[in-house]
């Protein structure tokens, strides 16, 4: 069955590659947008206990809404297609990035901060030279969680006409065509596990010196 799926991919690149491409476009666009929104927000609210409490609560509530519900809710609000899917995936990716940014910045050692202040660094310098590098591994872990969720969520985008590899899974299930179903399922799994391993490798390579929190 797996061999059948692979040979189908081999003989139908004109159907497989566009779906893979759509999946990757959804992934990159939504992670990029989520980073643009969540990183500055996380940095801005981390210093204020009240703001970070509010942001954490909103993010935690968003996280309890299942990914299928977030994608499905995009249909009545934004219609069908690629754009509503990307908006829904951004909503899915925001909480882990925001929560991890906020907590990693808050966990930076107070003694290190006062040492930096004592050395005469400005607030901007402290943020750039001290806080961000020290909280980078935690932020990266949040991006890793978000990435795995978005790759899985993008498979559900097929239900609201977003395209992607989920299309093969849904047609496979509809026609009970097992090899077609695997054409979608196996690449999605490889993408998700690949992203997970890639982020673990990046963390090992660049942040060996930072103690794990």
């Amino acid at each position: 069955m797996i061999a059948e799926a692979i040979s189908w991919i081999w003989h139908n690149p004109d159907q497989f590659l566009p779906a893979l491409w759509q999946h990757l476009v959804m992934f990159f666009c939504s992670i990029a947008l989520a980073l643009v929104i969540a990183l500055p927000t996380g940095i801005a609210v981390a210093r204020s206990p009240r703001l970070s409490f509010i942001a954490n609560n909103i993010a935690n509530t968003l996280r309890t809404i299942p990914s299928l519900a977030i994608l499905a809710a995009a249909l009545p609000l934004l219609g069908i297609g690629l754009l509503p899917s990307i908006v829904a995936l951004v909503v899915l990716a925001l909480p882990p990035i925001l929560l991890n940014t906020c907590t990693s910045i808050q966990q930076v050692d107070r003694d290190i901060l006062s040492a930096a202040k004592g050395m005469g660094m400005t607030r901007g310098e402290i943020m750039r030279i001290v806080i961000l590098p020290l909280s980078a591994p935690g932020i990266l872990a949040g991006v890793r969680t978000a990435s795995v969720q978005v790759i899985g969520g993008a498979a559900l985008a097929s239900f609201i006409g977003g395209g992607g590899l989920g299309d093969f899974v849904t047609t496979g299930i509809a026609n009970m065509d097992m090899s077609r179903l695997l054409v979608g399922a196996i690449p999605v799994i490889l993408l998700a596990i690949g992203a997970e391993l890639l982020f673990i490798a990046i963390a090992r390579l660049f942040f060996r010196h930072v103690p794990e929190s």
């Binding site: 069955m1 990914s67 519900a69 899974v169 596990i193």
Partner: protein, 211 residues
């Protein structure tokens, strides 16, 4: 809300199906995770392997995981429960093992000195000390499973997801919002329930420590 008021019995049935799916798979996953954690917590190499395998299972996208069950177990409740059980393992194993790791080595040594056997030490010392971590693991796993179980409706497992999928098929926003909203409400209530349980156990532990 015209559809909901006329079909509250269907909604209630979907809610019960959802609870059943999550309850059964969480229980299965809990038993497997307890055995895995007790076996691997004090063996760093085995523990790393167990975390790697369960972590990979956890990162498999839900639609793909349920799809993979079809050639093997067909469609319906059984493949959904197997898939959900696989999902919950990583969260549970990581939390339960962290609980065992948090038991101070001096306490274990003291138990050894008092002549405690393996099972007695496990039952009377390690498990009670790891209990807060175990409850925390169940809390995260249950909310995660409640969300993922909606996708299981696509392989005919029923539950609140079937209302969402019906809404998607018929372009009926009310069904989508009711299915999704109820799932989120269920997740939040179960989360609060476990939070309450966590606090109660913490208070009880504090009282026992004082006595």
């Amino acid at each position: 809300m015209r559809w909901a008021t006329r079909h509250w019995d269907d909604i209630l049935r979907a809610l019960l199906e959802h609870l059943m799916l999550v309850g059964v798979s969480l229980s299965c996953a809990f038993v497997i995770a307890m055995v895995l954690s007790i076996w691997s917590a004090r063996r760093p190499k085995v523990y790393a392997l167990v975390l790697l395998v369960t972590g990979m299972l956890f990162s498999i996208p839900s639609l793909a995981l349920f799809a993979l069950m079809i050639p093997w177990l067909g469609i319906g409740v059984l493949p959904a429960i197997v898939g959900l059980t696989a999902y919950a393992l990583m969260v549970l194993v990581r939390n339960i093992a962290t609980g065992f790791h948090a038991v101070p080595p001096e306490i274990i040594e003291a138990a050894h000195g008092m002549g405690f056997g393996y099972w007695r030490q496990l039952w009377e010392i390690e498990l009670p000390l790891a209990r807060p971590f175990i409850i925390a693991g169940l809390r995260i796993a249950s909310t995660t499973l409640i969300g993922i179980a909606t996708v299981a409706a696509y392989i005919n497992a029923g539950g609140l997801g079937s209302i969402i999928f019906a809404g998607l098929d018929q372009r009926y926003p009310e069904k989508i919002l009711i299915g999704g909203g109820l799932t989120a409400l269920l997740a939040i209530s179960v989360d609060l329930l476990f939070l309450w349980l966590q606090r109660r156990i913490a208070r009880k532990t504090a009282r026992e420590a004082q006595a």
